[in-house]
Amino acid sequence: MLKNYLKTAFRNLWRYKGFSLINISSLAVGITCCLIIGLFVWDELKYDKFIPEGENIYRMYTEDTDVNGTTSTASVAPMFATYLQSNYPEVESTTRLLMFNGKLLLEVNGISSYENKGLIADSSFFTMFPLKFLRGDPKTALEGATSVVISETLAKKYFPDADPIGKIIKIDKTDFAVKGVLAEIPEHFHLDLQYIIPMPAAGVEKERMERWTWNQFFTYVKVKPGTNVQLLQSKFQAAVKKEVHREFAADGSSYVPFFQPLKDIHLKSSEFIYDNAKRGNSVYVKGLSIIVLFVLIIACFNFINLATARSFRRAKEIGVRKVIGAHRSQLIFQFTGETILFSVIAVVLAALAAYLLLPSLNAFTGKSISFNPITDPALGAFLLATSVIIGILAGIYPALFMSGFQPIRVLKGLKPVNSGGSTIGLRQALVIVQFALSALLIICTIIVYNQMNFLQKKDLGFNKDQILYFDLPGDLAKDPETLKSELLKSTGIVSVTAGYGLPGDQLAGDGVIIPGKEGDRNQSVNLFIVDHDYIKTMGLKVLTGRDFSKEFKTDNEEAFIINETAVKEMGFGSTEQAIGQRLKWDKWEPDSINPVKKGKVIGVVKDFHYKSLHEKVSSAVLIIYPEATVKMAMKVKQEELPKTLDYIKTTWTKFSPAYPLDYKFLDENFEAMYQSEQKLSTLLWIFTMMAIFVGCLGLFGLAAFNAEQRTKEIGIRKVLGASSLDIVTMLSKNFLKPVLIASIIAFPVAWWLMKSWLEDFPYRIEITAWVFLLTAAASLLIAFLTVSFHAVKAAISNPVKSLRTE
């Protein structure tokens, strides 16, 4: 029986090659998209699953609420771990990582370079995260203050020929002994690390380690199995309220700790302001899944559409089979079986395509996903199961529909069902859904693209291009002027500034005091420690007042420059009125003579976007405070850049022979800020194209059937005097209406979706009507071109031929 069905199926497939090609290829494209995105999503969900008893591990984070709103932070105070460990018996262990940028200078016998992925951890780190050691004992590897555990990569780099255990590495000029070598670290670990040094090495005083407010630690807690974490969390929240809140409550703010499950760290931390984890974005993961679902739905609808359209051709077979004894269930089985066959073929093709496309996906996402259904039988079985499910989903409706044909009508040569209109209605409805989904994707793509374009072209209020910067080691930071003047000797360097607080780099958040009649008012601001050349180097625009100047000796001690937002937030009225207003600032390292900087606003600069455009510009205050200088930045000329770089390197070595030069360009930071949106934009383009392509394939097939079914009608109309144009119009009209309706349905959905997406951007484009008009026009044009091929073919055919066949 099965053999008989298979034979019929294959012969049908072959006989209607065009139909089969459209069906299989559109389904294959849909499934390929699904596979690719499925692999990506699956990979995203795999994070930290390899850690034994990971379900008992939580990371602490806090929600801080103040007048500016609520922010979440994954870095918490050192006392969190201490308190949890000693007060709750259900806590099995804790471990902390000190927050730092992870970059230190490593030196072994002349091999020296900055290594990026360093962690400073409590000795319990490897108990909580039992990473595999190639050499050394995880239990003791982080004991003492001068031990270090390195990755296999670093071991090979610094000790190419020797066993590193017991050997000395100089880390930031201090000796550390290698106590362990890690095996390759699993890719799906949320921490990216190359070496770990123990917490005591950081040299934090005991007093600071006992603070409840120094939020510098990523803290992990492992609870005993069966612990009610909700209960533990609320107990701890109460404890923190008691210990900390009194310091905060005065101004109506709050500070609440939470337990974040280990498995949520990768995908559900995208809102955290400080985090060291490898972060994904669950919104984009969900968004992509939905888009891909769209493509698959469109492909499945093609199946249903073409199958019901084609069903009239098979009506005779169905009638005959029924008359000679086929039961309806047997026919349903037969026809569903055929769609399953189609979808199995499509899945095989899709698996092949996914296999070939995977390297590009890996390059694009920076992942190393593997996919081979042949060597991985579970995956193969899953794919097979999927193809059967898709086959059933796409095939069940046509099968039910076709198996319901009345044999008597079929055999009498009538249309197989009385209500032939119902399937035409259904097909139109499916076409509407397909094109609505396509239109939705087109609109989203255009708007995302425009927004990205807008962000890239937006005037940032400063010039981020050709600015090179580097950290200054201790002694150089104390006296940057000599280095500055030495660098300025190069013709390739336009200007140089030293300070702390470069746009797109690390920034200092602090407060300034506005003295007033009713007492002092505190204003939280971003503080920029600058020198006389900062505004010039960064290309900031002074709106009123003046830049810092060496001609005014008082500028060093008494001058403040603020941005436009600060003028507003501090309540100074206009930029002109702001000049001369008094401000105070508590120095970071108060000297006995002058613990407070007191002075006046001497200038207002135009708002400049020192953070990503995801955030609104906040109040900025520029001051001269050489004690806090940590970085140097310079504007270089594009031409002769290599020569200039050489000069910078040579000069650097003269001044700081102990540390190699490690420089960066400022615009790199800004590119990184929009990376995820850029990728989203690219993916949207790709999948929108796919959706449109698949939708058009279906429309193309439908148009072919429509033209074929109406061959006789067209013949008669032509004989009666209809022109080819009349025929084309008549045939195309049928399809253009649903496309137009689809666009209109898609508009409000797309508008609402994009409006909420854009709301995340304080600086955003307006959604204009032309996007919708363009989309409608594009959909119509695409649909028309697709349909008109068959319409024109039918219209120019010789009517004698079509009539003779009847």
Binding site: M1, N4, T8, K316, G319, R321, V323, Q330, P407, L411
Partner: protein, 225 residues
């Protein structure tokens, strides 16, 4: 063997009942070869479809081997029919995607006959109609007469108690038609009960009894013995 009692069938046209069949009573005995005649629209095809249970009348009873067909449950009726009735169509109605062999075999598949027996029975049929050499051809590769022979072979493969034929020669030229009618005659002599619908007096004469329909009613039945 077969009894039709008070069969009425009508369609509604403009609120009025137009009768296609009006109080048909007939009996088919084992071994008979009945020809149903009548003008176009006299209801003869409908009568045949009712006998083949492709169509159900609005009123009346149908007994097959003593069973009241319309009282049976869907499954039982379907089984009774596919075991007892073979149908031959004017337009042959072979399945285009299947070969001659497969077309003949298909009814056996729906009766869940084991493969070895199917093979034997199809081979016997091919042999009987001398179409062994054509067994791997598709219907489109055959002439009309050959297609109809395949149609007959397919109808006979289930060894039916009743063979129904709806203008079996209607699409054939006279020589082919004669051949088909001779086959029917031989089959009848072998003991197959046949009811055929036909326009042609000549073909009707092959039968043992002629029923003439006029406006949905049996005009007169004459025994031709």
């Amino acid at each position: 063997m077969i009894q039709l009692k008070h069969i009425f069938h009508w369609v509604n046209q403009g609120g009025k009942r137009v009768f296609i069949l009006k109080d048909i009573n007939m009996e088919v005995n084992e071994g008979e070869f009945i020809s149903v005649m009548g003008a176009s629209g006299s209801g003869k095809s409908t009568l045949l479809h009712i006998l083949g249970t492709i169509q159900e009348p609005n009123e009346g009873d149908y007994f097959l081997k003593g069973e009241s067909v319309y009282q049976l449950k869907e499954k039982q009726r379907s089984l009774l029919m596919k075991q007892n009735i073979g149908i031959v169509f004017q337009a042959y109605h072979l399945i285009d995607e299947l070969t001659v062999y497969e077309n003949i075999e298909t009814p056996l598949l729906y009766l869940n006959i084991p493969a070895s027996e199917r093979k034997a029975r199809v081979a016997e049929m091919l042999d009987k109609f001398q179409i062994v050499g054509k067994k791997d051809l598709f219907p489109s590769q055959l002439s009309g007469g050959q297609q109809q022979i395949v149609g007959i072979a397919r109808a006979l493969i289930i060894e039916p108690t009743l063979l129904l034929a709806d203008e079996p020669t209607g699409n054939l030229n006279s020589k082919q038609g004669e051949e088909i009618m001779n086959i029917f005659k031989e089959l009848n002599q072998e003991g197959v009960t046949i009811v055929q619908v036909t326009h042609s007096e000549k073909n009707a004469a092959y039968g043992t009894r002629i029923i003439t329909l006029s406006d949905g009613q049996i005009e007169h039945a004459k025994n031709d013995q």
